[in-house]
């Protein structure tokens, strides 16, 4: 039998616990709501509002200061007076207004009557016309009605007009009384307008109870002031690996000032974006509604917290700071982490495809140029950069150029011969630094030298037929144009071609002579052009160049490998395909000579030398480098960090690799043939950084065509022209396409430098330009620098002609010249002007006038008919300095005046046209030579 009212435990106590627990539960639920609503981005937005409020307050203070207090007082006083006088007239004004009201009532009535009458008129007209058409007898009736109504309407209209006129007069009167006061009120308003708007702004921004309520939990679905800002981009997609998802960039939730002016000094994240005329503003080429943020900066656009947006710290220091401040951690699984700010330009290449240089992307362009110059494309396949030229000299004839002894020392350390060489260090690097490995490297070097000596063709070297003078040769090198691409003995700045110092320690005078007379003789693909040197000139140059020696290099001990090392290398190679015992048997059969050859061939195959140099036996060999076409998106887990402790980021790995390519072998045990092979280019931090930007730009990310910067046919032609210009270094000598000529840095007198060829497309005729590029002739006899013969194919010449023409905004047609008709009189005036201006003093016209002599031989004007475009000649004669800065041609029409006011009415335009027309119709004498040979350059006496 159960006890009566038994207690298991004390209920009041339990009730107390119940109360406590309930309160705790309530607290925890409130905490839940808070945790949900207290978002990081709201804090930032509130901070931004405070920032804006500060600015608004500052504006208000400024506006208040700007208000002219005295004037305001004055106006207020006058306004008060005006109001007083109005008050005095109050009764009258009231009467006027009553009258006006009555008038309006009358007007209303009359107007209504007029409108009604119109209705009747229209109706009667319809019936009348219908009846008339159908010959209905009622037509006459309606005609009469119509007439009546019309008359009535006319009367009413008169009445209406009268009433309106009267009303106008009365209204004007009323207004007059009030006009004075109204005007003053407007003036006062003007004065305080700025202040009022500023005050209104401050009021709006000031946090108040209303804004707090609107942002409160549960109520913030109505009209919150703190809300997520996003840009939805129809055309751009995020790669979620199994699906492409439309990009939604929510960066502006925290980066609130980024597309607004006025926040250039604000702290991050509110700072205005740099270069707003280029980015984000509606009139820029990258407006934020179309482009968003993440397509350039990467990162996770749909996230709204600092960490989840995949911000990348600039360096270790900043990372620690972020870890402390924001509890930052890297977003491991989000591939497209934000690019470090240094490398933002890498994203430009996603849309700006197929261009040689992306406009305004300095660092990316630098990286690209470096990749081209250092021959990265030779070893590493990169889509879009295939079929580039080999950056190293051809080794098809190397046995005639250098000795094996030189080759081995060069291979062991190229920089010991030439510090500025682009040839990287291949052997004796950090992963081959143990003593045995050194010996093996030496064996490989010796082998390569032996192979190259045996497997290259002996070239026919021509000995200089006349003795050369090194002094003259030096002058020639400095003045003929070699410095456009080369540096020699401290002169010149161009790093396009190899530095020519120390040539005497490398090769023979015969080689230099033969080469310089015709580079394509040895190497049909070389980029070095032919300077059309005479035998004497070539001999002088050869004599000079071989006089430059590198004593230190000559003293370095030769490379002598041990036979054991050679054997070891042969065996290692054999063991790849044979058993050890078989390998040894094979080895025993080989002579030392054969072993060396074998080691050489296998080393070349192993190191991939043929990526930069033409080598016999390796014409079809495949490059050894990794494909880099998608390296901008390379999976971080597929990059081997080895045992090196650096940040696990793509850019970190690339940078480290470029600075020291073999570093990831450190601490590892690896077989010889498994070791890393990339050579060391000795990049500075800056260079490596630019190259990293370039590498990060290589992605296969698909951007829809509508968003890409597509090139029309003309722009494509310009880009292929640009590629040729880059390949042959036109900008070494000529200022062209936005780049100043390299040589203008060290040629003092602008007139002595090769011409500026910006605008060449509008200057010369296309057929002439095409032929000139294929076979240059001397145009400017005083220039010591001569335009070399590049040996352009017809296709290349055409590409260049198109390039120049499109750059100048011309169409390409290769048509001949069509000269407009001109009167004989004008021609006669032209001839007279031509003689009066004494053009012949400088411009040799033909052999006869050469007798008149000029110390400077300006371009022969006989060329103009075939060479120049008539319109250009006009611009040139107006002011040559505009088209060619620093030119020696003076202007004869300064500031639109002319020294001959009696000819052709003193009109400079007419005079210039007359000269031009004369020039283009001038027929040379029969006995004048067809082509003027280039005269020896005359050095001017200062």
């Amino acid at each position: 039998m159960p006890k009566e009212n038994p207690t298991l435990y004390s209920v009041p106590k339990t009730t107390m616990w119940f109360a406590i627990v309930s309160l705790i539960l309530l607290g925890s639920l409130i905490w839940t709501v808070y945790a949900d609503y207290a978002r990081e981005w709201k804090t930032w937005q509130r901070q931004f509002v405070r920032l804006k409020l500060e600015k608004a307050r500052a504006e208000l203070a400024q506006a208040e200061q700007g208000v002219d207090v005295k004037k305001l007082e004055e106006l207020n006083r006058r306004h008060a007076e005006a109001q007083k006088s109005l008050a005095a007239r109050r009764a009258e004004i009231r009467r006027l207004q009553k009258d006006l009201a009555k008038r309006d009532l009358e007007l209303g009535k009359v107007r209504t009557r007029a409108q009604d009458l119109k209705q009747y008129e229209d109706s009667y007209k319809y019936y009348f016309e219908e009846y008339r058409l159908h010959r209905d007898p009622r037509a006459a009736e309606y005609e009469a009605k119509l007439g009546e109504v019309r008359a009535e309407a006319e009367k009413v209209k008169r009445e209406l007009e009268g009433l309106e006129a009267a009303r106008e007069i009365e209204a004007r009167q009323a207004d007059e009384y009030q006009a004075g006061e109204k005007e003053l009120a407007i003036q006062i308003e003007e004065l305080v307008k700025a202040k009022k708007t500023a005050a209104a702004k401050v009021k709006k921004l000031n946090p108040s109870l209303v804004t707090e309520l609107l942002n409160a939990p549960m109520l913030d679905f109505i009209a919150p002031t703190l809300r997520i800002q996003q840009v939805v981009l129809e055309d751009l997609r995020d790669d979620y690996h199994f699906i492409q998802v439309q990009k939604v960039d929510r960066c502006t939730t925290c980066h609130l000032g980024i597309d607004q002016k006025g926040f250039e000094d604000a702290p991050q994240p509110f700072r205005t974006h740099p270069k707003p005329e280029l980015f984000l503003s509606p009139s820029s080429p990258h407006p934020i509604e179309k482009v968003g943020c993440t397509v350039c900066h990467s990162g996770s656009g749909h996230a709204v917290s600092f960490t989840e947006a995949a911000h990348t710290p600039r360096n270790e220091e900043q990372m620690k700071e972020w870890q402390k401040k924001y509890r930052w951690r890297p977003m491991e699984k989000w591939d497209a982490k934000m690019l470090p700010l240094d490398h933002t330009e890498a994203s430009c290449a996603k849309c700006h495809r197929n261009v040689v240089e992306v406009p305004q992307a300095e660092r990316l362009n630098r990286g690209r140029r470096m990749a081209e110059t250092y021959g990265c494309f030779g070893c590493h396949k990169i889509e879009g950069f295939e079929n580039r030229w080999k950056v190293g000299p051809s080794l098809f004839n190397v046995q005639s150029k250098v000795k094996a002894d030189w080759l081995t020392r060069w291979l062991a350390d190229p920089k010991s011969f030439r510090a500025s060489t682009r040839m990287p260090q291949i052997f004796h690097l950090s992963n081959a630094s143990a003593p045995e490995e050194k010996k093996i490297n030496d064996a490989a070097i010796e082998g390569i030298a032996a192979y190259l000596m045996k497997n290259s063709d002996a070239a026919e070297l021509a000995e200089p037929p006349v003795p050369g003078d090194a002094g003259r040769g030096r002058k020639l090198v400095e003045e003929t144009g070699c410095l456009g691409c080369h540096t020699v003995d401290g002169k010149g700045t161009s790093r396009f071609g190899p530095e020519l110092s120390g040539l005497g320690s490398k090769t023979s005078a015969a080689w230099v002579f033969t080469w310089v007379k015709d580079p394509k003789h040895f190497s049909p693909d070389t980029r070095m052009p032919n300077l059309r040197l005479t035998d004497q000139e070539a001999s002088d140059i050869a004599a000079y160049l071989v006089s430059l020696k590198n004593e230190a290099f000559e003293k370095t001990p030769p490379v002598r490998p041990e036979p054991a090392a050679v054997d070891w290398l042969v065996l290692e190679n054999f063991k790849k395909t044979m058993r050890a015992s078989e390998a040894e048997a094979e080895l025993a059969k080989m002579s030392p000579e054969a072993k060396l050859q074998f080691v050489g061939k296998s080393s070349i195959a192993h190191q991939g030398c043929y990526a930069c140099h033409d080598i016999k036996g390796f014409e079809e060999a495949k490059p050894i480098g990794t494909e880099l076409s998608d390296h901008g998106r390379k999976d971080i887990h597929q990059l081997d960090f080895g045992l090196i402790h650096i940040e696990h980021t793509r850019h970190g790995w690339f940078f480290q690799k470029l600075k020291e390519p073999r570093i990831f072998d450190r601490g590892k045990v690896k077989a010889y043939y498994e070791k890393l092979r990339m050579p060391d280019f000795n990049f500075t931090d800056e260079e490596a950084g630019a190259l990293v930007t370039f590498l990060l730009s290589l992605t296969r990310e698909e951007i829809p065509l509508e968003m890409q910067r597509l090139l029309n046919l003309k722009e494509q032609a310009v880009e292929s022209g640009r590629l040729l210009v880059s390949k042959f270094n036109c900008q070494g000598c000529h200022t062209l396409d936005g780049k100043t000529a390299e040589v203008r840095g060290f040629i003092e007198e602008a007139g002595n430098a090769p011409p500026v060829i910006d605008g060449e497309g509008a200057k010369v005729q296309q057929k002439w330009l095409h032929e000139f590029l294929r076979q240059p002739v001397t145009i400017r006899p005083w220039l010591t620098y001569r335009m070399p013969t590049f040996g352009f194919s017809d296709d290349h010449a055409k590409e260049l002609v198109e390039y120049f023409s499109y750059l100048a905004g011309e169409d390409v047609s290769y048509r001949g010249l069509e000269l407009p008709d001109v009167s004989l009189e004008k021609l006669g005036d032209g001839k007279m002007l031509f003689e009066k201006f004494q053009c012949v003093k400088c411009h040799k016209l033909d052999k006869a006038s050469a007798m008149l002599g000029a110390s400077f031989l300006a371009p022969d004007l006989v060329l103009s008919k075939a060479r120049l475009q008539p319109d250009w000649v006009i611009e040139w004669l107006k002011d040559p300095q505009v088209l060619q800065e620093g030119t020696m041609m003076p202007t004869f029409f300064p500031d639109g005046s002319t020294p001959l006011p009696d000819v052709l009415g003193g009109d400079p335009q007419q005079q210039i046209e007359a000269i031009r027309d004369y020039l283009f119709r001038y027929a040379p004498d029969e006995d004048a030579p067809a082509e003027t040979p280039p005269p020896a350059p005359v050095t001017p006496k200062s």
Binding site: C842, L852, T891, P899
Partner: protein, 234 residues
């Protein structure tokens, strides 16, 4: 301290400005030449028969002209530092003539925005190619005898080279300054800078071949006549 000095100078200027006659501190001097005068090269003018006719005895290079009294001609002397106040450009032009296929004067001074009147007195084509770094470059053709053209320099520069492309032996130098305190040594090797207000100045001399030299000078009061001596070694 500096303000006191400035005030003092200002005071001085105010007083001296009202007394033009009293404000006639003159800086004069000679530029001597030590050593043997270099032999002047002969210049061949046969390229242009007109020029050759004007110099039947042949012409010599004029970059170094040593006067008979052992002084150097065509040395540009000017006040380099210490000038205060603004000096509006004079409206009368500096005359620059091409005569006998040579420039006259060869070395001259001109103020910023002061007009330079260029005359061609010869019956042949000359061109005047000025190569300033700080102002706009110009290259004017002057084919007609007697024609005149006006140009100005907009920024100070010491020295601006002027040359002729048709006759490469012709060269002249212009010293463009913001103030009128300059002079050029004449056949006596003497120069004179007038109306210099009191103050501390740095005076520099410039020669085409022998370079520049400086000296400090202090003008204590108005009406002072200071003598400066410079010397170049050959």
């Amino acid at each position: 301290m500096k303000t006191m000095l400035a005030l003092g100078v200002a005071f001085a200027l105010i007083f001296t400005a009202g007394l033009p006659a009293a404000d006639a501190a003159t800086l004069a001097g000679k530029v001597a030449f030590e050593g043997t005068a270099p032999v002047a090269e002969k210049m061949a003018m046969d390229a242009d028969p007109t020029c050759q006719m004007l110099h039947p005895d042949g012409a010599v290079a004029d970059d170094v002209i040593v006067n008979s009294n052992g002084t150097l001609k065509n040395v540009f002397v000017y006040v380099k530092e210490g000038v205060t106040g603004t000096f509006p450009a004079p409206t009368d032009a500096v005359q620059f003539d091409q005569h006998g296929c040579q420039y006259t004067p060869k070395v001259f001074g001109i103020q910023v925005n002061q007009p330079l009147e260029i005359i061609n007195s010869d019956n042949t084509l000359h061109n005047v190619h000025a190569l300033p770094q700080n102002s706009k470059e110009f290259n004017l053709g002057m084919p007609i005898q007697g024609m005149k053209l006006k140009k100005t320099f907009t920024s100070p520069e010491v020295m601006v080279k002027i040359k002729c492309e048709v006759h490469p032996w012709m060269s002249a130098y212009a010293g463009v300054l913001e103030h009128p305190f300059y002079g050029v040594t004449n056949e006596e090797g003497a120069f004179e800078i007038k109306n210099l207000p009191p103050g501390n100045y740095v005076v520099e001399t410039w020669h085409e071949k022998y370079g520049a030299q400086t000296q400090n000078v202090t003008i204590a009061g108005a009406d002072e006549a200071k003598e400066l001596a410079f010397s170049y070694k050959g």
